[in-house]
């Protein structure tokens, strides 16, 4: 009834006009581009992430964001990255406070993707929060690089676009047992007291298994609730004559645990705690920090990360600043020595940069393909990702180093790398007390 010949003719006419307009616009764009003399297009790429500006991860997250922001500043001031089609890209950060809360992470990453149009994502600090962000990233097919996240289990969920910078939890404390065995052949019993969160539970479950395989008797294996502040019930259960106390969780509870171990006069010969000891702020504990060992993803003193010792025989390509350049830039900007959290934030972005350059494109699948092929050596250490379907994106190239707080000749607390032996800057203080 409505499709009379006149109406059909008018519709056809309108369609032809639209087609002509589209063709003309395309030609005009090409003409404009050529009129500008082939000047490359510049654009800004949004990197989205959440930061724990409040809540229990505040200390570690602030350092991680510092590293990331340093990278953005350096890349932009050096002119950005040029893609295969000549486009010059610079980066801008878009972030929100996740309050160290998993529910907030999910809301905010959805916002970063759908409203802020972030093209690439960096995870928040901590395995639990990173796991929440990874789920959202995968749902929206956005590539995410996890910094500050060591959980193995995130990568067993079939994700394809989630890439881990840190050495996984399953390898966090294994070196501590190796070191203890080397320092004292007679050491044979240990306790594992850990925070009942995703990361610490995975680390200590793996450590428990590894310790038993190495012949250690784990006489206490117990978790405490996140947010616990009274460690006396656990400390009182440590059997007399225990050689090693290991565990902890994150900075806040790790520091409190270390302080209460000292106040309760625990005479363990070897104390290794997660996350807290490598932070420069740990030194504020004073004498309670002396002798405490912590696994670290990276240290400025670690010869282990030297490009010379690692390039040989591993086929890794060197990329980015060296250790002293990174440390100098970080100290210049933030007036403090970088911890591995800061280095991890920078490393995550550096890896993304390398993948974009190699891909010559911002296309997610092309960048992903480059990340899958990566065999890189950066100031942070070796980077290579597991590409099996079972554990895609798990970090398999990077190794932990172990630090210990010791007093120097002037009685000042300093952090030394004590393990592995080829990376150490000082001998381990053993026994710790």
């Amino acid at each position: 009834m409505f499709c009379t010949p006149v109406i059909r003719k008018n519709c056809l006419f309108l369609l032809v006009i639209c087609w002509v307009c589209l063709i003309t616009a395309g030609c005009t764009q090409k003409v404009e581009q050529s009129k500008t003399g082939g000047q490359p297009v510049e654009r800004t790429v949004i990197i989205g992430f959440t930061a724990s500006q409040t809540g229990k991860f505040n200390v570690e997250s602030t350092r991680q964001i510092n590293g990331l922001n340093l990278w953005i500043e350096q890349v932009n001031s050096s002119g950005g990255i040029r893609l295969g089609d000549g486009t010059k890209i610079k980066f801008a950060a878009r972030f929100y406070d996740d309050e160290s809360n998993k529910d907030r992470v999910q809301e905010l990453y959805t916002k970063l993707i759908s409203q802020d149009k972030a093209e690439f994502l960096i995870s928040p600090y901590s395995s639990g929060l990173a796991d929440a962000s990874a789920m959202i990233a995968e749902q929206y097919s956005k590539l995410i690089i996890t910094a500050g996240a060591a959980s193995d289990s995130t990568h067993s969920k079939g994700y394809n676009l989630v890439y881990q910078v840190y050495t996984p939890a399953s390898r966090y404390l294994t070196g501590a047992f190796n070191m203890l065995s080397k320092l004292d052949e007679k050491a044979h019993n240990a306790v594992l007291i850990y925070e009942k969160d995703k990361f610490s539970t995975e680390v200590c479950a793996a450590a428990n298994k590894y310790g038993a395989e190495k012949g250690f008797k784990i006489s206490l294996f117990e978790g405490y609730d996140s947010g616990a502040t009274d460690f006396a019930p656990f400390i009182n259960k440590i059997p007399k004559g225990t050689d090693a106390v290991m565990g902890g969780g994150h900075f806040a509870d790790g520091t409190t645990f270390a302080k209460q171990l000292f106040e309760k006069g625990v005479k363990a010969k070897f104390i290794s705690l997660l996350v807290a000891p490598p932070e420069p702020k740990f030194a504020e504990l004073g004498n309670a920090a002396v002798g405490i060992i912590g696994p670290s993803q990276w240290e400025p003193l670690a010869k282990y990360s030297s490009e010379l010792s690692h390039l040989a025989g591993q086929g890794a390509e060197w990329f980015g600043p060296n250790i002293s350049e990174f440390v100098a830039a970080y100290k210049n900007k933030y007036q403090e020595e970088p911890s591995y959290h800061g280095a991890g934030g920078y490393a995550a972005a550096l890896i993304l940069q390398k993948a974009i350059i190699a891909a010559g494109s911002l296309d997610t699948q092309k960048v992903k393909a480059e990340l899958d092929k990566l065999n890189l050596m950066i100031f942070f250490g070796r980077i290579q990702f597991d590409t099996t379907p079972q554990m895609h994106g798990l970090q398999k190239g990077h190794e932990m180093v172990y630090i210990q707080w010791q007093k120097d000749a002037q009685g000042k607390l300093v952090k030394q790398v004590v393990w592995p032996e080829e990376a150490k800057s000082a001998n381990a203080l053993y026994p710790a007390h």
Partner: protein, 285 residues
């Protein structure tokens, strides 16, 4: 095992004294005016942050700041009574519950905005006491000592001073007390202030031992309820003993079971007391 159990019990008892003092505040308010103060945890948090602010920004020794915390807590409670409690005191219990809960939310909300949810710590150490193989933290010992002194002072106040007698009279029978010329409204306000003072001092003492956040008071509030029921609602001295019992349990249970069982058994005890002896171990008013 004996050494471990003894150390755990002592640690638990020391902490229990602080719990008991906090619960005394809640118990006093309930006993005098039949109001369950749901801002009790928030008052403890105010005590923690008050101590932190005085130590960090004014450089005042935390133990020397105690009188300031106590006075501040009392004045805050006095003001809170007039604003949030006085008008609903004769209304059904739900009204006063909601009113004090609202104050709790205001304090937590304002505190989160001003201080964020980041952990804070009063980094002040006074060493440890060695008793053979048992080592007790100095801060825990001092905190327990102060808690016991405060409890003793409250006992003397309630039983040996004129104002204390007025408070007991109003708690016993408000109408009769009015007939005797006791200004019951003022007495209620003062009682509320004393209750919040005890809560804020308890918070201050806890802050000298453990780190805390703006939400920390909330984790101690349920313990105060358990202690009040254990000791007997309306019996402030019973609350102190209830606190010691709870502290002893918190110390003893981990010696035999994983620490995670402590709240399970605490609240199982709470239910058992409510069922078997609802007036508490030491009776109510």
């Amino acid at each position: 095992m004996v050494v471990q159990l003894t150390a755990s019990l002592l640690d638990g008892l020391l902490l229990g004294a602080i719990y008991g003092m906090a619960a005394m505040g809640l118990n006093l308010i309930w006993g005098v005016m039949s109001v369950i103060n749901l801002s009790h945890g928030a008052m403890m948090t105010l005590g923690m942050f008050g101590a932190y602010a005085l130590f960090t920004y004014a450089g005042i020794n935390p133990y020397l700041a105690l009188p300031l915390i106590a006075i501040g807590g009392c004045l805050f409670g006095f003001g809170m009574y007039w604003i949030a409690v006085h008008r609903v005191i004769n209304a059904p219990h739900l009204a006063s519950l909601l009113s004090t809960f609202a104050v709790n939310m205001v304090i937590i909300g304002a505190g989160t905005t001003l201080f964020t949810a980041s952990p804070r710590n009063i980094d002040y150490s006074i060493g440890s006491l060695h008793i053979g193989p048992i080592i007790l933290q100095g801060t825990r010992l001092v905190a327990a000592g102060i808690a016991v002194l405060m409890a003793a002072a409250l006992f003397v106040f309630l039983n040996r001073t004129f104002l204390g007698k007025k408070i007991r009279a109003v708690a016993n029978n408000r109408a009769a007390a009015e007939l005797m010329g006791i200004p019951s409204t003022k007495v209620l306000a003062i009682s509320f202030g004393i209750g919040t003072m005890l809560a804020s001092v308890a918070g201050f003492l806890i802050s000298t031992i453990f780190p805390f956040t703006i939400y920390s008071g909330g984790s101690y509030e349920p313990k105060s309820f358990v202690i009040c029921v254990l000791g007997g609602l309306g019996n402030p001295m019973g609350a102190l003993i209830g606190g010691l019992i709870l502290g002893a349990l918190e110390g003893a249970i981990p010696a035999f079971l994983p620490v995670g069982w402590v709240p399970v058994l605490e609240f199982a005890l709470f239910v058992a007391i409510l069922v078997v002896r609802p007036t508490g171990l030491f009776g109510s008013k």
